[in-house]
């Protein structure tokens, strides 16, 4: 009897507490699903909007590839600080570059460019295979991870940006780039901490303009 009274008192106390600190509340499911769908992050739409409205309008922010390569071979740490950026704990340096070069070779790996006239040494490699990693997303410096609700969205965006490069830029490079052709490009590059010889520097293009030889 005494135990039952105690149980009733405890239940009453709990009910009182939960009256003021509710544990849950009910909402109509369809209404909530509609609200969530509207608020849901869509990486395809976000990437397309970012690409057209921000990235392509910011190409003039990219550093000159020839200048950066010369600086890297003269004083790599200084060049990395001056032209590049690192993210979080990563020791790799990211660059946003642009330039114009002459195609010196076309291989399965990509299109190699020489930046200087009269020199056939490949300075830049524009890869034409499948893209992995976050170089495009992080290289431009236009996106801040902390403004995204979670890392999954940020990673989805990276995959979507890579997909844009793979589907819109790389096919024309593969088909139209011929030795001797002139290519103006802008793109992103990533150099590991221990990379001493960076040439040819792989630059994932975000914009290319081809001129026939």
């Amino acid at each position: 009897m005494k135990r039952a009274v105690l149980a009733v008192i405890a239940l009453g106390l709990l009910a009182g507490i939960f009256r003021f600190v509710p544990l849950f509340h009910f909402v109509p499911l369809k209404q909530e699903q509609g609200r969530q769908a509207a608020a849901e992050f869509n990486p395809t739409n976000f990437a397309a909007a970012f690409w057209n409205d921000r990235l392509l309008k910011s190409l003039d922010r990219a550093a000159d590839a020839g200048t950066v390569l010369a600086a890297l071979s003269a004083d790599s740490p200084k060049a990395r600080t001056q032209f590049g950026r690192t993210l979080g704990l990563s020791s790799a340096t990211l660059f946003f570059l642009r330039g114009t070069g002459r195609v010196v070779s076309v291989t399965k790996k990509g299109v190699s460019l020489a930046l200087k006239n009269g020199d056939d040494t490949a300075d830049i490699l524009l890869p034409t295979g499948l893209l992995f990693g976050n170089t495009v997303r992080d290289g431009t410096g236009l996106l801040d991870a902390s403004t995204f609700p979670n890392s999954q969205n940020f990673n989805d965006l990276s995959a979507e940006l890579n997909r844009i490069v793979e589907t819109t830029l790389l096919p024309q490079l593969r088909e139209k780039a011929k030795v001797g052709a002139k290519i103006s490009f802008a793109g992103c590059a990533e150099i590991a901490e221990d990379d001493a010889d960076v040439k040819p520097l792989p630059v994932i293009p975000v914009a290319v303009k081809l001129e026939s030889p």
Binding site: V21, P22, L23, F24, H25, F26, V27, P28, L29, K30, E32, Q33, P149, N150, S151, Q152
Partner: protein, 324 residues
């Protein structure tokens, strides 16, 4: 003090002496070790293992073992995170149950309690060996976690929930406060209550306890249920700290908690040990992990060293029991 009583005292305080020796040695070896920041860091790191180990101490004191705590931790954290973030859809009624933060916390702890109770039922009602019963639960809870989360982390749980794992009160991290309160509660429970006395009696000699009229199955059921509840608290702390409930959270945590309990001097055969010893055991493991990290020892060697420390603790416990 004669030789025998000195060795007895030595055996009694072996965990404390081991911790003191480690602190002195690491303070000399690394100037970063004995700082306020690092001490808080160690305390925050051990708080999760401490919650698990308090429950494990109860179970081991009763003469059992609980291998499922890591999986219970993961499922409790995942359920709380899932309910907080997505709620619970009831399509038949066209309703969504949206959980508040207290609601998600209560639900997470309830999951741990139910799983712990199921362990207890398996051990007491179906007479399964604790090792087998909790090994089964380890797999069941991990599978349920995968099903609940779909194999993906549940993230973005909000600042309020995150404060549970990353916040501070009076300069001390919240997980440390929570685990400290639990330590005090369970010291009182084991030392000052009838349940505590019965627990030692059951672990010391189950047959004698039964013959003395103690409700052994009920005590064991209670012990496993409390163990599940404490694993759930640890799950909530992990989830809040990482702002993410990952389906593989808590993998291998059961071994760390058993190690802490054993290093703290609790006998694996039950009936002997203390919550304070478990606190020391957690501190030893935490200080060891932290010290080896500060000394830049390879993580592979850290595992080897930890294994040797556990072996040494069990050996010292055996020698200590003989001396006493």
């Amino acid at each position: 003090m004669n030789r025998k009583s000195f060795t007895e005292q030595l055996a009694r305080f072996q965990s404390f002496l081991a911790l003191a020796l480690m602190v002195v040695a690491l303070s000399l070896a690394s100037h970063n070790f004995l700082t306020v920041d690092n001490t808080m860091n160690v305390l925050r790191q051990i708080s999760i293992n401490l919650c698990l180990s308090l429950g494990m101490t109860l179970v081991i004191l009763s003469g059992g073992i609980d291998l499922s705590v890591g999986s219970v931790l993961a499922l409790s954290g995942a359920v709380a995170a899932g309910l907080l973030k997505n709620g619970l859809a009831l399509p038949r009624f066209n309703l969504l149950v949206q959980f508040t933060m207290p609601g998600a916390i209560v639900a997470g702890i309830a999951v741990g309690i139910v799983l712990g109770w199921a362990n207890g039922v398996a051990v007491t009602r179906f007479k399964l060996p604790p090792f087998v019963a909790t090994l089964g639960m380890l797999s069941i809870a991990r599978g349920l976690t995968m099903l609940w989360t779909g194999g993906f982390p549940v993230t973005g749980l909000g600042d309020d929930f995150g404060r549970l794992g990353t916040g501070h009160a009076l300069g001390i991290p919240m997980p440390v406060w929570i685990s400290a309160v639990l330590v005090v509660v369970f010291i009182v429970v084991t030392k000052r209550t009838r349940f505590g006395r019965h627990l030692y009696a059951v672990g010391g000699n189950e047959r004698a306890a039964t013959l003395s009229g103690l409700a052994v199955p009920r005590i064991k059921l209670m012990v496993y249920t409390l163990g599940g509840g404490l694993a759930a608290v640890a799950g909530l702390l992990v989830t809040a700290r990482l702002d993410s409930a990952t389906p593989n959270a808590g993998l291998g945590y059961e071994l760390d908690s058993i190690a802490a309990v054993v290093i703290g001097g609790t006998s694996l055969s039950g009936g002997r040990g203390s919550m304070l010893g478990t606190v020391l055991g957690c501190l030893i493991i935490g200080v060891l992990n932290n010290g080896l990290f500060l000394l830049d020892v390879s993580p592979f060697w850290q595992q080897v060293v930890k294994g040797f420390v556990i072996l040494a603790a069990v050996a010292a416990d055996k020698i200590g029991s003989r001396l006493e």
